[in-house]
């Protein structure tokens, strides 16, 4: 399993559009991609659950990637956070 931590810089946090784009991105990989915040964990492919985390600007999230293609998924998801959030 690979993990990274990320501090959200987007002004409105993980809002609808990036959450949708993230779900799309996450579905490209076999690996399970989990977003954790304050002990709550949800799968990145689940748009409404991700929005339900209520991640705001300045919050730290932990992202866990596990599966056959975890190296590629890890890089892609990390890049996604850095450019969009």
């Amino acid at each position: 399993m690979k993990k990274f931590e990320y501090v959200i810089r987007d002004e409105v946090g993980i809002h609808a559009r990036p959450a949708g784009m993230l779900a799309k991105e996450a579905k490209k990989y076999e690996s399970k991609i989990v977003i954790c915040r304050d002990g709550k964990k949800v799968e990145a492919t689940k748009l409404m659950a991700v929005m339900g985390l209520g991640v705001k600007c300045g919050n730290t999230v932990e992202v866990e990637v596990e599966g056959a293609d975890e190296d590629a998924a890890f890089e892609a998801v990390k890049a996604f956070f850095e450019t969009n959030l």
Binding site: V7, R9, E11, V12, G13, H15, A16, R17, G20, A23, K24, T45, K46, L47, M48, A49, M51, G52, G54, K56, C57, G58
Partner: protein, 538 residues
């Protein structure tokens, strides 16, 4: 006559008949089913149809309001395809052996409640999105036609609430404005109204049973008011204001996107002065070619402690990204004098305008300065950012700034933090800076003349003292001579020079400035097009 207030999401003013939209109460009955799998098949067909409709709406919205705002319908489609949402519906059909309509309605309510309960205004507003897709899905299940409210004449639409899809489906030609009882300024309907340039008020405590279609109403987005059955006097005043707005829009349409160039081909850049990230909308709306003065004080004022590097970085980055390649000149901290923040502990001063302020604080307390510089250099990597230093009086100050910037650059380099070296200029707002502008010009990339302070220091007139108003004459020959000198010295060194003080917006002097060779005028956004008109007619 009845006057009600609400939150305005688009500044405009209209007068016209009301069209009241009442939601048909969708009562969904719980019906047991013997064949849940057949219900699921029905559901799947309805989902497919719904996805198709959302795709069409998306395409319509792209054409009308642009890709970014239309994205909401793409998000709706993704919500529709959300696993948790879909599984919850399937589960309910199977375990409770109920009809698909009922399962969709209940699941929709549950998910929408989850959003409504969140402690974040943006997320609360998403409850309406979930409701919107659930309703659409139910309509497709029952085979009900979508109700597409239209009226024969352009009207003010008054409703309890409007979903984004309702908003986009309406015939734009028939909408004068929106007034809703619910809704937040964060709702997508509000965003769409803004993009469609339609005055809209949300959160108006209006009783839909007390009003009726055909009533006359004024929607005043500037004041956030709706006036039902206006008096003759108000109607006349409104008509006058509508005429003025139209003229402004016409000016905008004829001059928007046009170059600011004189008839003999001299080009002047027209930039905007702003004081907070929220003003960027006005900058774009008035077609400024960039931001010539972005006062960074808003980040420091009205709070208890210094803003962090991350906070500053996020704010600067957002502005340069929104301006998408257009120049954004950010002025470093200009606290002191009339702008005070307690945590700076500046203390009382006999003569604050000539006191411990602006660059003087930055050079004496470099830790404050360095935090801002780090944020600026990092944000510069995201767009066309320039940095400008205020209150310069000597070459030594510029040299000190350069060495602090170098330190910051070295640190960022060592930490492998992405950054870019921005264009750097200084404000010319002291007579001293004017007199040595030849030497200063060799050390910086540009000048921006701050005429407010320059006038106060040159004429020895305190700007805060109302009794001196008659002595405060920015058209004083001394000021104009100084500006000419600064322009000449800048150009000799091959540097550009602008004016960002109030004098830059003085239409009586525009011609004089252009003839002097001033390269840029930075003014309040609302004056941009007026100046462009004058310059193009020169």
């Amino acid at each position: 006559m009845q006057k009600l207030s609400g939150k305005s999401v688009y500044k405009g003013i209209v007068l016209g008949p009301v069209l009241v939209l009442k939601k048909k109460e969708q009562t969904i009955k719980r019906v047991g089913t013997a064949d849940p799998e057949a219900e699921i098949k029905r559901l799947e067909k309805a989902v497919e149809l719904t996805a198709l409709q959302l795709q069409r709406l998306y395409e319509k919205a792209v054409g009308e309001v642009g890709e970014a705002s239309a994205a909401i319908f793409e998000v709706h489609r993704m919500m529709l395809e959300d696993e948790d949402y879909r599984n919850a519906i399937y589960n309910m059909i199977r375990t409770e052996t109920v009809n698909a309509e009922y399962a969709v309605a209940v699941t929709g309510d549950n998910f929408s409640e989850m959003f409504a309960d969140m402690d974040d205004e943006y997320m609360k507003a998403r409850a309406a999105d979930v409701k919107d897709i659930s309703n659409r899905l139910v309509c497709n299940l029952t085979g009900e036609e979508e109700t597409n409210p239209t009226s024969t004449e352009p009207s003010v639409i008054v409703a309890e609430d409007l979903s984004p899809s309702e908003t986009v489906q309406m015939d734009k030609e028939k909408i004068l404005g929106f007034v809703t009882v619910c809704g937040s300024t964060n709702s997508h309907t509000a965003i769409l109204a803004r993009m469609m340039n339609i005055p809209a008020l949300v959160g108006v405590p209006i009783d839909l049973d007390e009003i009726h279609t055909g009533m006359e109403a004024v929607v005043d987005g500037f004041r956030g008011e709706v006036i039902l059955e206006p008096s003759d006097e108000i109607r006349a005043r409104t008509e006058e204001r509508i005429r003025e707005e139209k003229e402004k829009t016409l000016l905008l349409q004829t001059l928007k996107g046009k170059e600011t160039v004189t008839s003999d081909g001299r080009n002047v850049h027209l930039y905007a002065n702003i004081g907070s990230a929220g003003d960027v909308g006005y900058v774009l709306e008035n077609d400024a070619e960039g931001i010539g003065l972005f006062r960074s004080e808003f980040l420091y004022l009205g709070r208890d402690d210094f803003p962090t590097e991350e906070e500053q970085f996020a704010a600067y980055r957002q502005v340069v990204q929104t301006m998408a390649g257009k120049k954004v000149i950010i002025r470093t901290l200009d606290i002191g004098a009339d702008k005070q923040a307690d945590y700076f502990n500046l203390g009382e001063e006999e003569n604050p305008a000539m006191g411990y302020r602006a660059i003087r604080i930055c050079l004496k307390q470099p830790e404050i300065f360095k935090t801002q510089l780090r944020a600026l250099l990092r944000a510069a990597a995201f767009g066309n950012l320039s940095v400008m230093y205020p209150m310069i009086t000597s070459v030594e100050e510029v040299e000190q700034i350069s060495s602090i910037v170098e330190e910051v650059q070295k640190e960022l380099e060592e930490q492998q933090t992405p950054y870019k070296m921005p264009e750097q200029g200084i404000m010319i707002e002291t007579p001293a800076a004017v007199m040595i502008s030849d030497e200063l010009a060799r050390r910086v990339d540009f000048f921006s003349i701050g005429t407010n302070d320059l006038t106060q220091y040159t004429l020895a007139v305190d700007r805060q003292n109302g009794r001196l108003d008659d002595f405060y004459n920015p058209h004083h020959g001394a000021i104009l001579k100084m500006i000419r000198m600064v322009v000449e010295n800048a150009h000799k060194a091959g540097k550009w020079v602008g004016i960002c003080g109030e004098l830059g917006a003085d239409t009586e002097l525009t011609e004089t400035f252009v003839n002097m060779g001033v390269d840029e005028l930075s003014v309040v956004p609302s004056v941009i097009l007026k100046l462009r008109k004058i310059i193009r007619e020169m």
